[in-house]
């Protein structure tokens, strides 16, 4: 049981780390898909939410594959700090989610949510590439949906999870190319 939980968390971490470490469309897309899968698997207690988030992650990952830089672009030159960030964040998230926080939801879900939030925002703040920023935003949206599902207390939690899932997909719809400014 513990091993399974460990696998779920590692998959989520791997996905989030891939989003941080990849500059290519494939790496980013795989990262989103893995993170969504990992997160969903930690939320199986609420199957509807888990399914919604997993589906949203997969769709968003699929949409991300359509544009942006070709290839995987994983671990490009000079990505040692990013790698370090992923490792440290992973350890800290695991410690905080499993030991410091008593809620919401089960420990693996907390760790996965923390990973999505922390690595997503770290990526967002450190990149200037649009597809990477979109992927990071998707990651955070999925994490927010996960948090809502983990709390579950709110009567409209299902609506919010659904909204998060839709938001993740809509973020995937946004193109990776920057638009040209015009007008006043």
């Amino acid at each position: 049981m513990l091993a399974l939980e460990l696998v779920e968390v590692v998959v989520a971490w791997l996905g989030a780390a891939l989003v941080v470490l990849s500059d290519g469309r494939r790496g980013v897309a795989l990262g989103i898909a893995l993170y969504a899968a990992g997160l969903a698997s930690t939320l199986l207690a609420d199957p509807l939410a888990a399914a919604a988030l997993a589906l949203a992650g997969l769709v968003s990952a699929g949409l991300r594959l359509r544009d942006g830089h070709r290839g995987w672009g994983t671990l490009p030159p000079g990505s040692t700090p990013r790698l370090l960030l992923c490792v440290v964040s992973g350890v800290l998230a695991a410690y905080a989610g499993a030991s410091l926080l008593e809620g919401p939801g089960p420990a693996p879900a907390r760790v996965a949510i923390l990973l999505g939030g922390a690595l997503g925002v770290a990526r967002l703040l450190s990149t200037t590439r649009r597809e990477a920023a979109l992927a990071a935003a998707t990651l955070m949206t999925l994490a927010v949906g996960g948090a809502e599902a983990a709390i579950g207390a709110s009567q409209v939690a299902a609506t919010v999870v659904l909204a998060a899932a839709i938001a993740a997909m809509l973020l995937g719809l946004l193109p990776a190319a920057e638009g040209e400014p015009g007008g006043a």
Partner: protein, 406 residues
């Protein structure tokens, strides 16, 4: 299903306006009609039967009133946009924003607000502009992460430290979402108005802030309340000082305008932080004046700001300067009255600090008013309307407060 309609109409309007971009007249007509329908749906929400929602959405009175003001501001800036402005773009962006704001206001909890912020910010950052998407997403992205952290800490345990850290994260999220100091986004003077951070802070920010506060304040708890209040007041004073001094000393007029928004926001944050009814009312009026006066005026100042027209200082500009400086009988009067009363009630030295900030305020108002040039035609009508709104906020604040259920 009132809230759903209030959300759906502007969203549909935005989509239609964007789709019919190549036929501006039709785009404006369709977008405008759907926008008006959305505003009407919002207005109808004052009648209890219209408030039922099958999605379980609810729109509290204060955010609802600010949404109406946003709709009014949008109507003003689109209908009276200066020549050369992309009115269809403004309408589409504005309607999308309005839909997002309705969603934020109707969001059942703060996590839902975070989701909408992410979407709204991505939509805004995707608009063609001078700065890259990723850079424009940073502030709102951090806000989403902070909301997430805040909520996790809220449910993280009973230790008071969690409550305090949660309050800290949520307040910072609010400030980051509005794009204020210390999360001030980069400013590109050449950037089109709809995509600029000024539009975000001046148009999306007010309703967003009031809606977030409505969701955050009840959840902070007794341990987090002091942190919540003190931090909002502290950041408010910081923004007030940064904004007033910045607007005074800034090299460019666009930057001066942006700083002037910060100064307004400073007052609003202080009002929200002083958790007494007067403070909240003052913040509400400040944000209403940002929507109805400062933001439209900024857009009408764009031709001078981008160098397509010359600045001027006629009587109308001086009157505008007085309105922007917060002089009586304009909006500044009631705002200052309420804010100073709230500050004196809670901790009088705060009133002294606010008073000093308000005094420095007037240094930049003449400079800003000059950038309105010599308003003619549509711009002149707009200036008169903005002054009218400011006067209304100044001499009949009770009416505006009643709209917000205050």
């Amino acid at each position: 299903m009132g809230p759903e309609l209030a959300l759906g109409f502007p969203a549909a309007g935005a989509v239609l306006a964007a789709a019919l971009r190549r036929r501006p007249a039709l785009a404006l007509l369709c977008g405008g009609l759907l926008g008006v329908a959305g505003a009407l749906a919002l207005g109808l929400l004052w009648l209890p039967p219209a408030q039922t929602s099958f999605l379980g959405l609810g729109l509290p009175a204060a955010p609802r009133a600010l949404l109406i003001f946003s709709a009014l501001a949008l109507t003003l800036v689109v209908a009276l946009a200066p020549a050369g402005a992309d009115r269809v773009g403004l309408l589409a962006a504005g309607l999308a924003g309005s839909a997002g704001l309705v969603a934020v206001a109707a969001a059942p909890d703060v996590l839902a607000v975070a989701v909408v912020i992410a979407l709204l910010a991505a939509g805004h950052a995707a608009l063609p502009g001078g700065r890259p998407f990723a850079v424009r997403m940073r502030g709102p992205g951090l806000a989403v992460a902070l909301v997430l952290a805040g909520v996790l800490l809220q449910h993280g345990g009973d230790a008071p430290a969690f409550a305090r850290l949660s309050a800290l994260a949520l307040v910072l999220a609010l400030v980051a979402a509005a794009g204020l100091v210390p999360f001030l986004p980069e400013l590109d003077p050449e950037e089109p108005a709809p995509a600029s951070p000024v539009a975000w802070t001046g148009f999306f920010g007010p309703a967003l802030a009031i809606a977030m506060v409505a969701r955050i304040q009840p959840t902070v708890g007794p341990d987090g309340a002091p942190v919540y209040g003190a931090l909002l007041v502290g950041l408010g004073v910081l923004n007030l000082a940064w904004g007033t001094l910045g607007a005074w000393l800034a090299e460019g007029d666009v930057a001066a305008w942006r700083y002037s928004f910060l100064a307004d926001w400073g007052l609003a944050l202080v009002g929200l932080g002083i958790v007494v009814p007067d403070g909240y009312a003052a913040a509400y009026l400040v944000l209403a004046s940002v929507l109805l006066v400062r933001f439209p005026l900024y857009l009408w100042a764009r031709p001078v700001l981008v160098g397509r027209a010359a600045g001027a200082m006629g009587p109308a500009n001086v009157l505008l300067a007085a309105a922007l400086a917060g002089a009586a009988p304009f909006a500044g009067f009631s705002i200052r009255l309420l804010l100073l009363r709230a500050a004196t009630t809670v901790y009088w030295p705060l009133a002294l600090v606010l008073g000093l900030g308000m005094l420095v305020w007037l240094a930049h108002s003449l400079r800003l008013a000059r950038t309105l040039g010599a308003p003619r035609g549509r711009a002149a009508v707009g200036v008169v309307l903005a002054l009218g709104f400011s006067l209304l906020l100044g001499v009949a604040p009770a009416l505006m407060l009643a709209l917000g259920g205050l």
